[in-house]
Structure formats: C-alpha cells, structure tokens
C-alpha cells in the first residue's frame, strides 16, 4: 500500500504541530469558565486519542502477525505499543496538570476517563516484562501478539465498565460540542489532532526503519566476517529478520 515516505512525514509533522500550537495560542478563543488552562486540552485529548488508537492498531498488527507468522507485523505491533505507552505517560501527566488547575486536585478517582486510562496504561506496562521473560524469539513474538490482541479487546470494554461505575466529572468536550464548542476551537482541535497523529506515525515509522536498518547492518557485518554465529542483538526487541529460507514453521 502506498504510504507516505518517512521523509515526507518528517517534514509534515513539525509543520502540523507548529501550526497547531500557533492556533492554540493566537487563534483559539479563551475558554469562558476555565480560562487559559483549558488550552492544555488541545494537547491532552489528541495525545489520549492517539495512544488509545495506537493500542488498537498494535492489536490489529498482532492479529496479522498471528495469521501470517511474519515477524515484521510483530515489530509493528511492538513499536506501536512502545509509542503509545510514551504518549500514555504524557496523557497522564497533562491530565494531572489539567485536573489540578480546574478541579484543584492532581488525581480525581471519581473521574472515569482518567481511571480507565490508568488501568489501560498499567496493563500495557506489563508488555515489557512479558517480552523480557521469554527467551525464545519466535515464542516471544507469538506470546506478545496474543497479549496485544487480548489487551486490544480489553481497551473498549474497560472504558465501558469504568464509565458505568462513576459519575461524569470529566468535561465531555466532544459530546457537548454541538452546543458548546465554537468553530474556532474545533478547527484548532482538529489541527492539533492531526499534528499529534502525524507525530505518532512518524515516531513509529522512524523506530521501525531504525530497527530494520540495524538488523540489516548486523546481517551484512556477519556476512563480511563470515561467521555463522547468531547476532548478539537486543534481547527484547522483536527480530526484524525474515525467517531463513527453508526453516521449518513451528510444529
């Protein structure tokens, strides 16, 4: 499928992010209730959306990995989760800042979106110890994919469950948008969302490219040195090397 090149993404991302920030500070109106602090919404919400979508994308790649056995899909799933966990940490931090400014507390347990995000974040944090703890590469990839599929199914379910259990304190910005959010805020929000989504995509593509290149490099190096010894590469990172020709599929 024709994806934009990494170079094009690397140009588009700073432009979109810079445009988003320019709109946030110079174009979007001040919120009548919350004042200036409401502007963190233009960073917090797109980060949260991208992190959650990233977890689901990782699950889709994991399904493709399980169906095809191609390690490239495992690599994509791993890198998607990696980027989404970093974004998730940023969501928790920006969310805490916003909560402190508008509700006076760093953490509000009565707030379903916050709590369910924390649960999802904690769950995905166990992805790394899981990979660390399995030595065999092929099995590591397979189990990590099973985890990613299970956790991907868990994400929406968890949001339903937590929302049922709590009242609604969190501003339902998007839900009330019809009546509430003026068009200038909408435009700013959409540009910011596009910028953060591009940032996520660029980071993921960059890490995949870096991993594939270093795998290729170590393959070439071994070919020059003429040794058949296995590559002393990272223990958890998924191997990006294709299965050697003629190697048996798992029994």
């Amino acid at each position: 499928m024709p994806l934009p090149s990494l170079r094009a993404l690397a140009f588009a991302t700073p432009v979109a992010v810079a445009a988003g920030f320019a709109l946030v500070f110079f174009y979007a109106p001040l919120d009548a209730d919350q004042g200036f602090v409401q502007k963190i919404f233009y960073l917090h919400v797109p980060l949260a959306i991208c992190a959650l979508v990233g977890f689901v994308v990782a699950g889709v790649h994991a399904i493709r990995h399980l169906r095809s056995g191609d390690p490239v899909h495992d690599l994509r799933s791993y890198v998607s989760i990696h980027a989404s966990i970093i974004f998730g940490l940023a969501v928790l931090v920006t969310g805490a800042i916003w909560a402190r400014a508008s509700w006076g507390q760093w953490w509000v347990w009565g707030e379903p979106t916050l709590v369910s995000f924390l649960i999802v974040f904690l769950l995905y944090c166990t992805y790394y110890p899981l990979r660390y703890a399995i030595e065999d590469r092929e099995r590591q990839a397979r189990y990590a994919s099973v985890f990613a599929v299970t956790a991907g199914a868990f994400v929406p379910l968890n949001f339903i469950a937590v929302r049922m259990s709590e009242s609604l304190v969190h501003p339902r910005v998007l839900a009330t948008a019809e009546g509430g959010m003026p068009p200038r805020m909408w435009l700013t929000f959409l540009v910011c969302l596009a910028g953060v989504a591009l940032l996520w995509t660029t980071l993921v593509r960059f890490e995949i490219a870096a991993k594939l290149t270093s795998a290729k490099l170590s393959r070439l190096r071994r070919a020059i040195e003429g040794t058949d010894a296995p590559a002393p590469s990272s223990r958890i990172a998924p191997s990006a090397q294709p299965r050697p020709a003629g190697a048996p599929e798992s029994v």
């Binding site: 399995i134 299970t150 937590v162």
Partner: protein
C-alpha cells in the same frame, strides 16, 4: 499459522473431558488447592477485620472485602493449575498428544470455575458469619458470583497460559491479570453492593451490572477461543 490437525471426530470433547477429569481427580486426591484457598480467604477476612478495624461490614465495603479476597484466592488456584502443572511436566505431556488448544482451554476454565464455586461455598458463609447481620441478600449473590467466576476463570486461564512459559511465571501472571480483572471487579462489586446493604438487599441496577459481567465473559471467551491455539505451538 494454525497447526495441521489430524484429530478424529469427537476428539476435542473427549480431550476436554480427560483433562478436566485429571485436574479434578488430582484435586480430590491431594486436596491441595481448594482447602488452601478457603484457609487463605478466612485468614484474609481476619486481616481485614483488623486492617479496617470494623467488626460489621455492609454495602460497598462488604462487597469489596469479599470480592478482593475471592480474586486473590483465584490467583492461588490459577498458580496451582498452571505453574504446578508446567513444573511437573503436564503441559509437555499434553503437547505430545493431539489435543486441541480449545479443549485444553475449556477444561482449564471449567476446572477453575469449579474450584472457585467450591471456595465460595465456604468463603461466603464464613464472611456472613464473621461480618454480617442480615443474610437475606446472599441467595441473590449466587448468579453474580457465577458470572464473576467465569470471568476470573477465562481471563485467568488465558493469562496464566501466557505467563507460564516465561521465566518469571508466578510473578508475571498476577501482574498482567490484575488490570485485566478490573472490569470484573467493577461489575461484581457494583452488583453486590446493594445486595449486601445494611437495611436489607435492594435490586437496583442488578441487571445492568450482570450485563456488564456477561459481556466481559463473552468477549474474553471469544478472545481465548481465537488465540489459545497459538499458545500451544512449540
């Protein structure tokens, strides 16, 4: 990459029956898991009595103490059913036989449900005797616990099968399992809270919470059915 399977008709059912019968027979002969779970639960109740410094519990607090205790007892059972089996070579033997992954998954889930139900037959009356005056809400707790047991068993079997083949198996299992079980806890506690309320049970919202638990069970049964085969290939 599903395995090539040359399994005769009806084999999954008989494999399911054999594995389940084996687990139950081991339990009946050794009495290793369920009595330990029951003892653990009663001890945990005593700890809660002093930790919370309350000798009567009702409503949300009662539901929380009871269900968290059952959840931790379930982790004990899961460790016995999977980690012990792995260490004694049970899974290697099962892999040698042409056993369908789904049959093994189903057998382990049913065994866990039976263990948990047996545990609750002891733990719930013990809880009522120790902490509660009004027992009229307890019968209505049964369907809630059935759905919660199924959720604990399905997710537990799935996660334990992942964790059991890793190095840190008894550590990693609970670590992955606990966040996954949060919706079960929310649903079961939400349903149990009005049933255990001080002024007698009320049935507000019971259907809504039961629907949440049922949805959870169905989704993770489907996920387990879809991915379990991949956990057995080696």
């Amino acid at each position: 990459m599903p395995r090539e399977q040359h399994v005769p008709e009806g084999a999954p059912v008989s494999a399911f029956r054999t594995v389940l019968a084996k687990d139950l027979r081991v339990e009946l002969r050794t009495f290793e898991s369920v009595p330990a779970m029951a003892l653990f639960s009663v001890t945990a109740f005593v700890l809660f009595r002093f930790g919370l410094d309350r000798d009567q519990l009702e409503g949300g607090l009662a539901a929380g103490v009871l269900l968290v205790t059952v959840l931790f007892a379930a982790i004990l059972a899961i460790n016995r059913l999977f980690v012990a089996e792995r260490e004694q070579g049970g899974f290697d033997a099962i892999r040698l036989a042409p056993v369908d992954g789904t049959a093994l998954f189903a057998a382990k889930v049913v065994a866990l449900v039976i263990y948990l139900s047996a545990l609750e037959l002891v733990a719930v009356p013990a809880f009522a005797i120790l902490f509660m005056d009004a027992w009229s809400g307890l019968p209505a707790l049964a369907p809630v616990l059935v759905l919660a047991n199924l959720g604990l068993a399905v997710t537990g079997a799935l996660v334990a099968s992942i964790a059991v083949n890793s190095r840190a198996r008894d550590l990693l299992g609970p670590l992955i399992l606990l966040p996954l079980l949060v919706p079960v806890m929310i649903g079961a506690a939400g349903a149990a809270e009005p049933l255990l309320a001080a002024g007698g049970p009320s049935f507000d919202d019971l259907g809504r919470w039961m629907a949440l638990l049922a949805l959870y069970d169905v989704i993770f049964l489907l996920v387990g059915y879809a991915v379990y085969d991949f956990l057995l290939e080696d």
